[in-house]
Structures are given as C-alpha cells and as structure tokens.
Assembly symmetry: C2
Homo-oligomer: 178 residues x 2
C-alpha cells in the first residue's frame, strides 16, 4: 500500500507543520505519527523542504474544487469538498487556517492559498467586488470544512453531500453571480 503510506505521510506532515515551527519539525516525528519509516518519507518526498512544499500546495485542491462552469461552481465546490473529506478523512483547504500564526513557512502557506485558491476564483468572476466575493467564496468552503472537522458525528458530518449542497451551495453561487 505505497499510496496509503504517501497519504498518511502527507496528513502527518500537515499536522506537524501546522502545529510546530518549521525548524522544530523532523521527518522522524512525522514518520512516527504516520506509522511509517523516515526513509519512506525520503523515498516519496525527497526531503523536509520538498515535503513542506507538498503540504503548502493547494493547486490540486483548487483544480478539483473549481472544475465546473461558473453557473455550477458553487454546487460543484461544495460537493467536491464534502466528498473529498468523506473519502480521505481530510479537508482539501482547512490546513491554511492552522497557518494563521507567525513564521515564514506559515506565511508561505497563506500566500499559496491566496494565489492558488482565492485568486483562481477571482479570475473567474466579474464586477467591482470580485476580489471580496472570491474571498468570501473561499470563506464558505473553509467554514464548511471547519464544522465537519470539529463536529465529527454532527449533522454536517453525517448528512449526504447533496443535502449539504442543497442548503449551502446557493450561498457560494450567489457570490459567483451576484
């Protein structure tokens, strides 16, 4: 299960880089958390620097979340976020919130989020308020990810993706086409 190992490493790395200063993070610690050997991390990611780069990258998440025409973007993004969490027990975007503290590497995570997520949404919108609306679109997704993370047996964590989309997606869509 090489793929499982990779996913477990990424999850453990996200946790480690979110909760500790960059300098304090060790491949050994991440390996222990992921239940793999440090050498498997090197095999998959090369080095701590490259592993951090993988953690700090939101481009794949953005591609998945935004892979729909504008008139279906809200619903597609909500369904994708919820289904991805159900499948991988992990959120596509939420790690950026844990990077709200100080430190260069946290700043990089936030910068990437702005460039790779918020700006990608803004580019697809029209009108004077498009930058604000793009950020609020991202806010909706972060908030949804947050409640699923903090209330793991709660209604949002157990409702079907379609039920959530029915109630939640119109808000995102109204930011796309106000």
């Amino acid at each position: 299960m090489v793929d499982t190992g990779r996913a477990a490493i990424l999850l453990a790395a996200r946790r480690a880089f979110a909760l500790q200063p960059y300098a304090a993070v060790t491949l050994r610690g991440i390996a222990a958390d992921a239940g793999v050997s440090a050498s498997l991390i090197v095999k998959h990611f090369g080095s701590k620097e490259l592993l951090f780069d993988a953690v700090a990258d939101f481009s794949t998440a953005a591609t998945q979340l935004l892979d729909a025409p504008n008139d279906q973007l809200g619903r597609h993004a909500v369904l994708t976020l919820v289904r991805s969490r159900r499948r991988h027990n992990s959120d596509l975007l939420l790690r950026v919130v844990f990077a709200a503290g100080s430190g260069d590497e946290r700043a990089l995570l936030r910068e990437r989020f702005r460039d790779q997520v918020i700006s990608q949404v803004a580019e697809r919108l029209q009108g004077q308020t498009k930058d604000l609306r793009a950020e609020l679109f991202a806010a909706q997704l972060l908030g949804l990810g947050a409640v699923m993370a903090i209330d793991k047996q709660g209604p949002a964590a157990t409702a079907t993706p379609e039920q959530i989309a029915d109630l939640y997606a119109p808000a995102l869509q109204s930011l796309v086409n106000p």
Copy 2:
C-alpha cells in the same frame, strides 16, 4: 490598563491552549506571550484551570452574535463578527477550529462550541433540517473569521462590515428561514 492586560492574557491563553497539549501550557509562558506577569494572570483568572475555562467559554460570544430577532439574525451575526474582530483584533469563534486535534481539553472546547453556539442557533430554527442548518450557520461565521485571519490585508479584512454583510449575510439568513 487592567482591562488591556486581561484581554492580552486571554489572547495569549487562547493561542497557548490551541497549540499545545493542556499539560504543556504554563502560566509563565502565557504571561511572557502577553507581556504581563504570571501573578497578574492569577489575579485576573485564579488558576490555569480557571483560565482554560474562560478560553473554552463561548457563551458571551454567542449572546453577542445572536442578539437579534430571527428575521435579522444573519446580518446581525455577520456585522457583530466583523466589528468585533476589527475592534479586538481577535475572532469570537475561530479558536474552536484550532481545537480540532486530540486531547481532552480540545474535546471540551468543541463540546462547548456545540452547546453554546450551534445548539443555541438550532433552538431558534424550525423544520426537520434545523440542526444541519444551525451547523451550517456556524460554518459561515467560522469561514468568515478564517479568511479575515489568514489574509489580514485582504479584501475581507479591509471591506466595511456593511459591505461584507451585504454579500455574505443573505446566505446565513437563508439558513434561518429556508
């Protein structure tokens, strides 16, 4: 400036309890972060246990956010969240997201959030989906807090509370009265 000291202590305590296991948190560390003496913390809060209790309490936040009739609840909650952040450079709810990890004290924070925020919203709603809608209402607020925290010079951090409410509050309101 006793009040400033209290606020600074609470902010530092929120950070400390969010990022470290309960046992690792010290009043001395919080005092250093807050720029006050450990004895001032004892004077204000009594003990580490009581300080954590203050950090884990969302009842004041909920009272402020939900202090409006149902037909104005969405706009009131958004305006209150944004104004409070502008005034105190701190979010009324966001610390619960940092409590997504393991540990008894994090579980308490999440439990209080469910009891003091989500359940309070649910009690005011009607219909079969009210628990899910209450959680999504909280999601909207957490997401808004998150983008203001991660993009401190960005559009949501610099727009007026009214501009944000115009674009964002209808989504919350639609969960109150679907």
